[in-house]
Assembly symmetry: C2
Homo-oligomer: 465 residues x 2
């Protein structure tokens, strides 16, 4: 066998014997899980404090539910599940072409987002759902995207939506939800950027460029990346003249969200339906926030590239770390219309857990004790010590102290290494001497200090801390 063949054989053998996971997916080991749970629990708590109720939908949806809802590109990115059993049985061989064959051999796909399943759920359960329906949903979604840094094929979304009311109180609640979530997470460097779909429309109307509305929103949405000059060039390439371009460029500033700025915008715009609706909504939102606008900015360039928003649009961007938006959302007029239930206005936001995780990691603001899984480890130096310590361990657990007993009588060093690897704060060491004197040796694994205490004093000793 020539050398290169051996090399190929070894590579093949290696990849056979070593298990792996699919590209773009991840295992979340204990330490990562603890931090993810911290983020998820914080968001969930805040959602609940505003009266949002949990919903979970199946991972698999019928492809008839998913297809056509995310544009042509989205359809490409759906993960499709092969029909079970002998799925080719009734299919003739002349169907051997993926576009033709796929609908015949696959009826189900993996959830692509949490919004379409919400719409589907509400339509299916419209008689039981009481409106306004406030639900939150925190589940993984799947997209057959090309994996790259920060982009995964399986990732979590954490959505909250209110369906069935046009009230701007919802917008105000979501601003408060943002501030509460990030305040609890101790994330202080961020901006909540707000815009209004109809403000964009009013400005494009004023520029007499409504025919290009969609393209223009896509261009200004890129302002962060390509700069003002880049936007200007693209607008001119689109065929807009100097005057039109400068009207649209006037959008591109980010300003404080206050009454004076709203009045300025109003006076700069003609008295159109779109302008009045946008300024009216934003004014009402400002009032519902009682003019408390910390972290909130009015960002005329915010378009979020999405067709279906019809009112206020939100985006949250971290300011101390180079990273895209960590949350987004907005109001839509007709989410459930795609499944035949018309006239249900709604609004929703979605947190990007992976990015929030990365931001918090980079800023090192996860709580230091967040990855402590166990408070106390009992270390038995001989077999008799198990009977001595097990009732104590039970007692600690009843008092809410996470406790484990090292399962054998390994050398102390090995047991303490285990404790250190798990970030455990206290070791309670029990050998012949301790048992004879009805005592325990308790070692602080952070300071290294060790002391002897009475056997019955343990719970009290630990509760004092």
């Amino acid at each position: 066998m020539p050398y290169f063949c051996i090399a190929i054989f070894l590579i093949a053998f290696n990849s056979m014997s070593k298990p792996s996971i699919p590209r773009g997916t991840r295992d979340f080991g204990p330490k990562v899980m603890a931090k993810r749970k911290y983020i998820l629990n914080t968001i969930e708590q805040v959602y609940q404090s505003f009266g949002f109720m949990p919903l979970e939908t199946p991972s698999m949806e019928n492809l008839s539910t998913l297809t056509g809802k995310y544009g042509a590109e989205g359809d490409q990115l759906l993960f499709k599940v092969l029909n079970s059993g002998d799925y080719l049985k009734d299919i003739s061989a002349d169907k051997f072409e993926s576009k033709v064959l796929t609908p015949l051999i696959s009826e189900k796909g993996l959830r692509y987002d949490l919004t379409v399943p919400l719409a589907r759920y509400v339509v299916m359960n419209q008689n039981e759902v009481s409106f306004p329906f406030k639900r939150y949903q925190m589940q993984p979604v799947w997209r057959a995207d090309r994996p790259q840094k920060g982009r995964y094929r399986e990732f979590w979304q954490c959505d909250a939506d209110v369906l069935g009311t046009p009230s701007l109180l919802c917008e105000a609640d979501f601003v408060k939800i943002y501030r509460q979530v990030f305040s609890k997470l101790k994330l202080t460097g961020y901006e909540i950027r707000i815009n209004h779909r109809k403000l964009l429309e009013a400005v494009v109307e004023k520029a007499d460029a409504s025919a290009h509305f969609k393209t223009i929103t896509i261009i200004i949405d890129k302002a962060d990346k390509i700069g003002i000059d880049g936007v200007k060039n693209e607008l001119i390439n689109l065929g807009l003249n100097e005057t039109q371009t400068s009207v649209i460029l006037s959008l591109l500033n980010k300003q404080a969200f206050n009454a004076a700025n709203l009045a300025n915008i109003k006076s700069a715009l003609p008295d159109t339906e779109n302008a009045n609706k946008a300024i009216g909504d934003l004014t009402q939102l400002l009032e519902l926030l009682n003019h408390q606008t910390d972290f909130v900015y009015l960002d005329g360039s915010l378009a979020r590239g999405l067709d279906y928003y019809t009112g206020c649009i939100f985006e949250v961007v971290p300011t101390d770390v180079q990273m895209g938006s960590i949350s987004g959302g907005g109001r839509y007029d007709d989410l459930t219309g795609i499944f035949g239930l018309k006239g249900i206005s709604g609004i929703g936001i979605s947190f990007g857990i992976d990015r929030i995780y990365d931001v918090m990691e980079e800023l090192n603001i996860f709580p230091a004790d967040g990855t402590k899984f166990t408070d106390v480890l009992f270390c038995c130096m001989d077999e008799k010590a198990f009977a001595y310590c097990l009732p104590l361990a039970d007692d600690l657990r009843l008092n809410g102290i996470k406790t484990e007993v090292y399962p054998d009588t390994s050398k102390l060093k090995k047991q303490l290494d285990y404790a250190n690897a798990k970030n455990i704060s206290w070791a309670v060491i029990i050998g012949e001497n301790e048992m004879n004197n009805n005592q325990l040796a308790i070692k602080n694994l952070v300071s290294g200090e060790q002391e002897l205490i009475d056997k019955n004093a343990l719970t009290l000793f630990l509760e004092k801390l």
Copy 2:
């Protein structure tokens, strides 16, 4: 068009317009979710109190990881995910047969259980994992089984395993975990049934029927369903004589887990390696439990039909409700061997959430306030009331009281209907009069009583309760 054609057309139209979910999958609406979360959180809390750490693995695994791990039937039940892109591009049309085609067009499958992914994770991360590795994992799994009552194609498993120690302390911990979980869930009617794989082997040895060991375990495992006579018949059909049969039937009793019964079993068995190991393990387990064996029974018929258990076996069965086991587990000697890491002994259990849910529902033991999503609803009778109540709502939330403001000024009846549908306890009603007098009308939605209180007294009023 003849009548039957119209009927078919209507059915087709109907099924097109009404969205649905795949067979065997479920939506979990808010009330069901609240109860499921209650069970899951309880189990998680108990797992954590024993030092178990969270792990999550991807929903999709490579089919090379999954195939061959669950027997031929299991392979049939794997949901396979179609490769993305033009998956037929490089495949010739003569492969048009599902057995041949499938491996060419599908490389990934959905997780079938949480045990194989655990083994895969530990092998992939063996240098970072510190043993004994105590992990819990609560995630959905998927099986392309025929859906029926209580059997779903997507369902949750809640596993805990300890890898890397043969210590019977783990067995003792799992017995305690069972008792704590069910005690917290207020489920008092259940039995923890214990057996030992090697006790089964010792008895079958004594009956001189070791050649039929696997078949015999399958037969006695059915004792619950077919009765002692049924077991006897099947053993005789297998070719066993009267003496052999009666030795094996002696297994079929369920008895208290205590030293006297263990001694009896020991004296009834020949002095073999299997008998000594089984009695030795069970005796040590009894001692580690400090002879506290409430809820625990020794059940000689327990075999759990699974090949890979090598030591103690567990099963939990509810006794007040007709239902199969709600948890099971046991010790295995070589879980990670399938991926090339030999000699890692382990033990694990798994809770069946769906059945626990059904048992608790039937016994009506879910906490009454478990489906309260909101504590207080503010009902505004005119627009000015929003500014009046919003700071109060913020304040209640800061005090941990789940609060929402009805988003518009609908008639009071409509707002209270919403509160009732959501199980809300308190409505705070604000109209002209209340605002003029700096008051709030607070209505207890359970008793129907209503009183006026001072605006600033609200938090105190609610905290008193």
